[in-house]
């Protein structure tokens, strides 16, 4: 049995009638919590199936700790997967499900029993070990599926949208559980998810996949805060996207005199600026507060709209003829006396001013079609 930790995909392709994964290069390091995100139908699940060996790659190399996996059958790869709908065996009870794989991993009966007790203790399954899957609640099913994978001490755990079917209560629970597992057990986790909150909360590193190609990969915060191209920026929820001229340490929005300092100096003369709506911060009129950035990056604008449903409000701002969008906690309405047409001063930290190109050269085609509009 292989004990992968480091997973490398080199120039992987997987061609199906009507869809193809192309030129996938990816390194998942030992102990990573690695997230794969992308629109529906972009090939995320296919990528996992390929890694498992359930879908043969058309070309390229898949290496686990440097060993080529091409001829290694599914059951010898040492990956465990938890499917979105758990795929529990309906004819076995919870204990039977959890113990299912132990005999193939050279785990003795006693040892398996010990692990079963330990896991069902941690996961709160002790009292339902003799129930069949169809009698379980969503959360119980999920924990059973996890236990079934974890009892084998897999060095790599794949999760395909593990949380999307849960209601908010189960959801929160399950998220914490995953976090704990990754923290406490020595395990590489690869997770496919549509939920950015989960991804940001859980993952260290990640990749954005679009139409079968990797658009960007790296640290998860960088993925969300410094997307490299316009597609990724839009996909990860970057707002206030505007074409800019790049100057020394600042950018100037094309066709206006709005100019902002930016923390990183881009290496290209033209590009796009993006600011997350929650990074535009209102400031009380009057002096700049103590301890805050002394110079610049303050804009004065007029409020053009307030959408005050929910915990957070969405505010439209007009500044120098440009339309900005900000998201603020609800109590700011009272705190800053927000109302339609009123003026306000906002601050954007230079770290929050992201600059990127429209298209990334090495991956042509990836950004051909903007999914929004």
């Amino acid at each position: 049995m292989i004990q992968p930790g480091l997973i490398e995909l080199e120039n992987i392709s997987l061609t199906l009638p009507g869809f193809a994964l192309e030129n996938i290069n990816l390194t998942i390091r030992e102990n990573d919590f690695f997230a794969v995100i992308g629109p529906t139908g972009s090939g995320k699940s296919l990528l996992l199936e390929g890694m498992l060996g359930l879908m043969p790659f058309t070309s390229g190399r898949l290496l686990f700790n440097g060993t080529d996996m091409d001829r290694v059958p599914v059951e010898k790869r040492g990956l465990a997967i938890v499917y979105q709908d758990f795929a529990l065996f309906p004819h076995l009870d919870v204990a039977g499900n959890i113990l299912y794989g132990t005999r193939y991993h050279g785990i003795s009966r006693d040892e398996a029993q010990n692990r079963l007790e330990h896991l069902s203790d941690i996961l709160g399954l002790s009292r339902i070990l003799d129930r069949r899957p169809h009698n379980l609640s969503g959360g119980e099913k999920q924990r059973t599926a996890l236990a079934r994978a974890l009892i084998l001490n897999p060095s790599v755990l794949l999760l395909d949208e593990p949380l999307s079917a849960l209601d908010p209560v189960f959801h929160g629970e399950a998220k914490e559980l995953l976090k704990r597992i990754h923290r406490e057990m020595d395990m590489t986790i690869v997770m496919v998810s549509h939920n950015f909150d989960d991804v940001i909360y859980l993952a260290d590193r990640g990749a954005v996949i679009h139409q079968g190609r990797i658009c960007q990969t790296g640290d998860i915060n960088i993925l969300f805060e410094k997307p490299c191209d316009l597609f990724t920026a839009r996909f990860v929820g970057m707002a206030n996207l505007m074409p800019v001229k790049v100057g020394k340490g600042r950018v100037t929005v094309e066709g206006s005199d709005v100019s902002l300092r930016t923390a990183n100096q881009p290496a290209f003369p033209f590009g796009y600026m993006g600011i997350r709506p929650e990074d535009i911060v209102p400031e009380p009129e009057g002096d700049v507060p103590v301890g805050s950035e002394p110079v610049g990056n303050r804009l004065r604008g007029t409020i053009t709209g307030i959408d005050n449903h929910g915990m957070f409000i969405r505010v439209g701002l007009d500044s120098g003829g440009l339309q900005f969008e900000a998201v603020w906690p609800r109590r700011y309405i009272r705190q800053y006396n927000l109302s339609h047409g009123s003026g306000i001063r906002v601050y954007v930290s230079p770290e929050a001013v992201h600059v990127f190109r429209e298209k990334l050269d090495p991956v042509p085609g990836c950004q051909d079609k903007a999914p929004l509009s």
């Binding site: 359930l54 599914v74 059951e75 990956l79 065996f89 309906p90 299912y100 193939y104 069949r132 084998l152």
Partner: protein, 267 residues
């Protein structure tokens, strides 16, 4: 997808029910006729006739054997058809359905010709000591031929109803293809297999046209019914039919109960 009865506002339902009546009559009237004909005394007399009981036992025995053979030989094929793609798959699926449409005498004739000593295959069989004409072997071969499509189609549907993801999940847990088949696929399709055996056996019990060509003796119930009808008339043939059907229904109920006492689950 069970939808409750909403009779009160539903004209279409009523109309459809009315329209279904002729069909139900067409199916039940001959059956009732068949069961009505023999007197109770006649039925019990027949029960004492050793020949009749032997013929019914043979019919059930041979048909069940065909069903079990279909289970052994047909299960791997059904699995391959449900799970794999391979060149010629469509052709094989077509061939599987053919026995349904081949006239029954032709089935008998073809199997008989194949097994004759004038045919190389028949000589091969003879050398192996296998006899087809007038032997249980021959009858079971015929019954397997006509019953196999029923088994394969039922069990194929069973395999298809097991999500491939369950098998994949098993393999990611370390079980090889064999263990996966034994521990996941088989228990989950067990009931389809029993149903397939029942369907195959049921079809086999009714066979006459092909058997009468391959084997007049040992006499199976349908042949005996035919013989009695021609030699002695209706009142001697119908009781045999009634008992055959009654006993086969009993057999099927027993089979189903067996499969039910096995693992019960919902998906």
């Amino acid at each position: 997808m069970s939808v409750l009865n909403r009779a009160k506002t539903d004209g279409m339902g009523l109309f459809f029910m009315g329209f279904s009546l002729p069909v139900i009559l067409l199916l039940t009237l001959p059956l009732i006729e068949m069961a009505r004909e023999p007197t109770v005394a006649m039925l019990f007399n027949t029960l004492k006739d050793r020949e009749v009981m032997l013929a019914i036992a043979r019919s059930l025995g041979f048909s069940l054997s065909a069903g079990l053979l279909a289970f052994v030989l047909g299960t791997p094929l059904s699995y391959l058809l449900a799970r794999r793609t391979f060149p010629g798959k469509k052709l094989i699926e077509g061939i599987i359905d053919l026995p349904v449409m081949i006239p029954h005498p032709v089935v008998g004739i073809a199997i008989l010709s194949l097994a004759g000593r004038t045919h190389p295959f028949g000589r091969f069989l003879a050398d192996m000591g296998v006899q087809i004409m007038g032997t249980p072997t021959g009858i079971i071969t015929v019954l397997l031929f006509v019953g196999l499509p029923f088994y394969v189609n039922t069990v194929k549907a069973g395999f298809e109803s097991v999500p491939a993801r369950l098998e994949n999940a098993s393999r990611t847990l370390g079980a090889g293809t064999w263990d996966t088949f034994r521990r996941i696929t088989l228990p989950l399709t067990w009931r389809h297999m029993v149903l397939g055996i029942i369907m195959c056996t049921a079809r086999a019990i009714s066979e006459f046209g092909a058997i009468v060509i391959v084997a007049y003796h040992p006499m199976t119930a349908p042949v005996m019914i035919y013989e009695r009808f021609t030699a002695f008339g209706l009142e001697y043939s119908q009781p045999v039919a009634v008992w055959l059907i009654a006993l086969s229904l009993l057999l099927f109920v027993a089979l189903r109960m067996m499969s039910r006492s096995a693992v019960q689950y919902q998906r």
